[in-house]
């Protein structure tokens, strides 16, 4: 369990369920730890950042990524097959006139393998309820003031697809290497609550 969950009721229920399963001899701590560490192994926003930096520097990859992300990921050494079940991935591209932002209004679906464990606010009822209804205000509260002529699309992750936002490449970065570009990309940028 992540630290931010430690005091929640769900954490207490999960801990009790684990105790019961172990006491009944159905599993043990080592097996549970193994499942968790395999699932989270390498799960980091650095993966999403690497995808973005490659898309910024290789237009062919960018086009393949937007057309069929799951097929393009192996080009940067990643896959959507690392989790408990196979998922599909859709990459949505921000432009001068279009901005994308992600949410899961029903729970907290999120591409953990590419972004690492989700931030607490992503799971909060306030974010989930408000971003589908008033995204411009919510983004402004994140410090992202979008011009009025930028259209916003909110993606509610309600089934088996996961999404990733491809932010706009910042101006004045033409001299940077792919690695330096990846270092500019933040987790919020990959969710759409920051510009990059």
């Amino acid at each position: 369990m992540t630290a931010e969950h430690a005091d929640s009721r769900i954490a207490v229920r999960v801990a009790r369920l684990e105790e019961r399963l172990v006491a009944a001899g159905l599993t043990d701590d080592a097996e549970l730890e193994g499942i968790l560490s395999r699932t989270l192994q390498g799960a980091s926003p650095a993966n999403g950042a690497r995808i973005v930096a490659r898309a910024w520097t290789d237009d062919g990859f960018r086009r393949r990524l937007l057309a069929d992300a799951a097929t393009a990921l192996p080009e940067v050494g990643l896959s959507m097959r690392g989790g408990l079940k196979v998922q599909n991935l859709g990459v949505v591209e921000n432009t001068a006139t279009q901005h994308h932002v992600l949410v899961c209004t029903l729970c907290s679906c999120y591409p953990i393998g590419l972004l690492g464990p989700s931030p607490t606010w992503y799971k909060s009822e306030a974010y989930r309820a408000r971003v589908v209804r008033e995204p411009r205000s919510v983004l402004a509260e994140f410090g992202l003031e979008l011009p009025d002529d930028v259209e916003i699309t909110v993606h509610d992750t309600s089934a088996e697809n996961r999404y990733l936002v491809l932010p706009r490449r910042p101006e004045g970065t033409s001299g940077l290497t792919e690695e330096q570009l990846a270092a500019l990309v933040t987790r919020n940028g990959l969710i759409g609550t920051a510009a990059v």
Partner: protein, 104 residues
Amino acid sequence: MADPAFRTGDRVRTRTVDPAHHTRLPRYARGHVGEVVADLGRWPIADESAGGAPDPAAETVYQVRFAARDLWGAGDHHVTIDLWQSYLSPALSPALPPEGEDAT
């Protein structure tokens, strides 16, 4: 209904049913008309798998785009939601008469 029943560009209306079991059709999107923007392939229906069904049926999931104005009565943005086919029925363009009416 054939599967897939819808194509990109089709207008669809979501169910209004409030089932007693788990579903992935969010309440705020029930009874609304949107446009199919992508076919996401066939996936086990979450309504069945969440209930522990050993062999849940699979059907096509569509990415459907809704105008905020239709969902909330206000707003200039759009919301896309990924919806299983059985949540959807065909919606006619407002410019056309309802199906079958011209035959009477």
